[in-house]
């Protein structure tokens, strides 16, 4: 059983992307024996009104409701964001929230961002904040130069104590170490993926030692990145089968409240 917590559908403005329509995406999942993927809309990140992207993806994934789970993208610096959030969760059936403080004009320390994260906690859904969508070195000259600010993130988790968070596609071993103390005092928990954490170096060991196996999830970045890199790590990581099960699906199933 495999659950991928980090997938995207839609267009990426800065280079050509393959397999970013729903049919091709599911075909790739089949190739890699991924049972379920969380997806969110790349279009929503770049549209002024993120709801246009959220509505698109909700419609697109309908034929694959047994394979795909959608997270909504909400910009708390845009009018009617709270109404949009509720619509996504209550009407469109979305199971999580994506926040992009480096693409949208707000900081995680601002009141609306804190309120949004708390609303997610009240709704019992996780907030996923990628460190970046693509590594900043590869950026197009019009793309953002910013990534997730760790201090702001730690402030946010303190201000949203009941909310579960997912951090992906970055130096999650270092972020986990920095956030450990704050996270230990919360009811909600922070989960980390290992897209950019190496198993042949001590970084994965550090992540595992810092948060334990119950707060690590699989994220691939499909279709922006080759999936095989995560499978190399799963093959070579020095953990028991029980721990691997937690990482590859059990933690994700718990977060997504799957039966």
């Amino acid at each position: 059983m495999l659950i991928d917590m980090c997938g995207y559908l839609g267009h990426w403005p800065f280079r050509k992307i393959n397999n970013n329509d729903v049919e091709s995406f599911v075909k790739v999942m089949d190739d890699y024996k991924i049972n379920l993927s969380v997806v969110s809309s790349l279009n929503a990140v770049f549209y002024k009104d993120t709801m246009q992207g959220n509505e698109e993806i909700a419609e697109e994934i309908k034929p694959y409701s047994d394979r795909l789970v959608a997270f909504c993208v909400i910009n708390p610096a845009y009018p009617a964001w709270e109404k949009d959030f509720r619509t996504c969760i209550e009407k469109l059936g979305m199971k999580g929230l994506m926040m992009y403080p480096y693409y949208h004009p707000y900081r995680l320390t601002e009141a609306n961002a804190i309120r949004l994260a708390n609303l997610a906690g009240e709704a019992g859904i996780p907030v996923h904040i990628p460190v970046s969508i693509i590594n900043v070195r590869q950026r197009h000259w019009l793309d953002t130069t910013e990534i997730l600010n760790t201090s702001d993130f730690i402030a946010l988790i303190k201000n949203a104590p009941n909310t579960d968070f997912i951090v992906s596609n970055g130096a999650t071993d270092a972020i986990a170490a920095a956030a450990k103390d704050a996270d230990s005092k919360r009811k909600g928990k922070v989960y980390y993926d290992f897209q950019r954490v190496e198993v042949f170096l001590p970084s994965f060991e550090r992540l595992l030692a810092t948060v334990g196996p119950e707060q690590i999830v699989l994220g691939t970045g499909n279709p922006l990145q080759y999936l095989d890199t995560q499978f190399v790590k799963l093959h070579y990581m020095d953990v028991s089968d029980e721990v691997k099960d937690l990482i590859t699906y059990k933690n994700a199933a718990r977060l997504l409240k799957l039966a």
Partner: protein, 272 residues
């Protein structure tokens, strides 16, 4: 459908030459033996046969004595793992006379197989000419740290991108240049377009970036014959991008042990 364990066999069943790795100095300036041991242990587990290693100074403008000291550490690693670690000689081209002398020592006395340049000068800078000419004379490749950043890298103002390689390749068609870590050097589309028409520029696929299509785009632009396997500290990413790309098995095997580069390697092997 092939299982993932079966997919990984390509590394075990074929010769794998990793053209971009490093050993490092510890806080006291000695070879960091623990890191080197871990590197070799990991390589054995992953199925790599050869690690071509260097020890560059990554910031500042090092004096010749420091380059020499670091090359001695690489030599120590070569002797610690004979047949597995091959050495690249790192020099600062700004000290032209000393750099040429050091290349001579590393190649002819220590048995290294090429030259590593970092970000002290653009590859196209006339300051690098003496080093390039020495490499042509000795018939050895030049592996240059590379990348194209938007905006320009503030902490690496003289990092070479594809356009600098193209200028050097144009001026020195007899030289063989290796563009380092296409998966770690920023805007790879930029550099691939810049180097595409220069048959004396090869590249390694190392680096932590594994954008879907990076390998296919590389091969489309420069051909599989000019592509070499490397990791530069990122085993999983580099293995994953080779496994995940849509090349044929034969093309992947060709990257794992680039035939053009074999003769350089053989010279190093004779030393063992």
């Amino acid at each position: 459908m092939q299982s993932f364990a079966d997919k990984l066999k390509i590394f075990k069943e074929n010769k794998v030459v990793n053209w971009h790795e490093h050993v490092w100095a510890d806080a006291k300036g000695n070879l960091n033996v623990a890191d080197a041991d871990r590197l070799v242990e990991g390589a054995k587990k992953a199925g790599f046969d050869v690690l071509v290693c260097s020890l560059p100074v990554t910031r500042g403008n090092p004096a010749p004595e420091m380059c020499k000291r670091y090359n001695d550490l690489v030599y120590e690693a070569m002797n610690r793992y004979p047949g597995i670690i091959q050495g690249m000689c790192y020099v600062n081209p700004g000290y032209a006379k000393e750099a040429v002398k050091e290349i001579d020592r590393c190649i002819n006395e220590l048995g290294m197989i090429g030259v590593k340049l970092y970000n002290q000068y653009y590859l196209s800078d006339p300051a690098v000419h003496s080093v390039i000419e020495k490499c042509i004379e000795l018939d050895i490749p030049i592996l240059e740290h590379a990348g194209k950043m938007h905006p320009r890298s503030e902490d690496q103002p003289f990092i070479s991108d594809g356009t600098h390689f193209a200028m050097a390749a144009e001026k020195f068609p007899e030289a063989l240049f290796i563009y380092a870590h296409i998966g770690g050097g920023g805007d790879y589309h930029w550099s691939l377009k810049a180097i595409a028409d220069y048959p004396n520029i090869f590249l390694d696929i190392s680096g932590s970036i594994y954008d879907e299509d990076i390998i296919e785009e590389t091969v489309r632009k420069i051909g599989v014959e000019r592509v070499m396997f490397g990791t530069d500290g990122s085993f999983s990413s580099s293995m994953g991008k080779l496994l995940g790309c849509k090349l044929s098995e034969a093309e992947k095997i060709a990257i794992l042990n680039n035939k053009t580069m074999e003769r350089y390697l053989e010279r190093g092997m004779k030393r063992c």
